[in-house]
Amino acid sequence: MSETAPKRNISWQFLFTLLMFAFMYVPILILAIYSFNESRFSASWTGFSLKWYASLLQDTRLLSSLWDTLFVGFFAVSISAVLGTMMAVGLFKYKFPGKSLYRGISYLPLIIPDIAIAVATLVFLVSVGLSRSIWTIVAAHIVFCLAYIAVVISTRLSSLNPFLEEAALDLGATPTQAFIKVLLPELMPAILSGCLLAFVLSMDDLLISSFTAGEGANTLPMEIFSRVRTGVKPDINALSVVLILFSGVLAFTAEHLRYQSDRKKLS
């Protein structure tokens, strides 16, 4: 009887989920709304204004930290894309003594808290006498970027047809040709979405950058952190909106890539 009765009543789980969606999005909306508020101090609305966006464009310190962040992200992710792909493919294809140890080490950057990695890297840089610069941030970011990219690629590899590459070899392709013409195109969506994830993580990193930055290198999270500790700043609200839109575009691209590759897999 009961299973055929139409369910017209709205379940509490639905209402609760709605509430949690609000919990996730209302803070972001509030940031966005107040970025258009004219008043600097109060939470009350005093009028619509774009002046905080205008002040962003004149804030040279903020813009140079944005440049540093993009610089670090670009180089860390590009190098990690190569290293991470090599690691994932190597771990997938070969058996060798100490493989599980190697795999375990490759997961460490995902597990060890950022603060511990940051501290260890600082101590290491000081003890080998390397002077800190923007390149030391890049080097430190590669550690976690390559681990994340390798994980994303490994997931894709395990769902791949293992005979494709063998078939290419049987048909006379050299191993390099088989890799470039067969395996790499199959992995491309995973490599790209891994890179996007790594880029977002690199842009978000505060601790590792703070500990490995040299004189003059200042990333956006470091700059934002030093400003918001002393209270609410409307120009940071405006910056948030810009960054949220930017990461929204990245998220959409990554999801689109995943969707495309899933569809390809089905057909």
Binding site: E3, Y34, A43, P113
Partner: protein, 302 residues
């Protein structure tokens, strides 16, 4: 007397030799560069702070004393124990609250929502993860500060204002907000695989929805619950941004204490290193527990 003469080595034809060579060289070419990078910038540094942690009171530029366990004993002094306790309670609180808040959401999306909307709903729910964690914590400053949005709202409907910012409740709210998407993401993956026929069978056999939930759904998804809780626990245990921005000066956590030993006023590298090692140890114990008990639960089910 060596009686066994080695069998005559057949002269390997060139292609065979090349094959053997490439079988050895290919994994090396692929795996050595990333491995070396991790060895140099992760393993060696971690071993280095393990060594520093064993030199009591090591400070940069001062001559180091001998080895000892002084740094580790310092952690258990009366002034630092509350810091450890606070970090653990934040981490447990964040894990518990995001489990309570996240399970119904994951359940609704995975089991009750229309099938073709599920992926979209999940992606929409975890979308905030793509934005800066610093800015997401900052948003809560704007809401919770004394003259913030929350108090304006409370004032407008005639309720007394709440002073939450820079106190532990703000940290719990901020952490639940930060880690809820991770919780939902992993719980969803586990609930999605739940065999819906089991729920129907349970209902047909006369179980109430509560009984079905506690006797079927929860045990079936236990590995997912454990993995999600572990992830949230270790992320919140090492979190720096939320306690720092929302907890104020009174909410010193282990991460902040470590930070101070290196970039702050104290500059005691030995003590900071021992704290880092304890943090790494805490995370490792949590993972070991999951592997030990998580796997056993998984085996029981199949």
């Amino acid at each position: 007397m060596a009686t066994s003469t080695p069998p005559p080595v057949p002269l390997a034809e060139p292609s065979r030799l090349r094959h053997k060579f490439s079988r050895f060289i290919e994994p090396l070419v692929l795996l050595a560069p990333p491995g070396l990078w991790l060895l140099l910038l992760l393993i060696a540094p971690t071993l280095l702070i393990l060594e520093l942690s064993l030199i009591p009171g090591f400070r940069l530029g001062h001559s180091a004393g001998g080895y000892g366990l002084g740094n580790y004993l310092q952690i258990f002094q009366a002034i630092y124990l509350p810091v450890i306790w606070r970090s653990l309670s934040f981490a447990f609180g964040a894990t518990f609250s995001s489990l309570i808040l996240g399970f119904p959401v994951a359940y609704w999306i995975a089991v009750m929502a229309p099938a073709r909307w599920r992926n979209l709903l999940l992606v929409a729910f975890v979308l905030p993860l793509w934005t800066s964690s610093l800015l997401r914590a900052y948003a809560w400053i704007a809401i919770l500060r004394p003259s913030g949005v929350l108090n304006s709202l409370l004032g407008a409907i005639g309720l007394p204002s709440q002073d939450l910012l820079n106190r532990p409740p703000a940290v719990f709210i901020g952490m639940a907000y930060s880690f809820l998407p991770y919780m939902v993401l992993i719980l969803y993956a586990s609930l999605e695989k739940l065999d819906k026929r089991l729920l129907e069978a349970s209902a047909d056999l006369g179980a109430t929805p509560q009984q079905t939930f506690w006797k079927v759904t929860v045990p079936q998804t236990m590995p997912g619950i454990a993995a999600a809780c572990l992830l949230v626990f270790i992320s919140s245990l090492g979190d720096f941004v939320v306690p720092e921005l929302l907890g104020g000066a009174a909410s010193m956590t282990v991460s902040r204490l470590i930070y101070n030993q290196f970039l702050g006023a104290t500059l005691n590298w030995g003590f900071g290193s021992s704290l880092s090692m304890v943090l790494i140890l805490g995370v490792s114990v949590a993972i070991a527990l999951l592997i030990k008990y998580g796997d056993r639960d998984g085996e029981n089910l199949t």
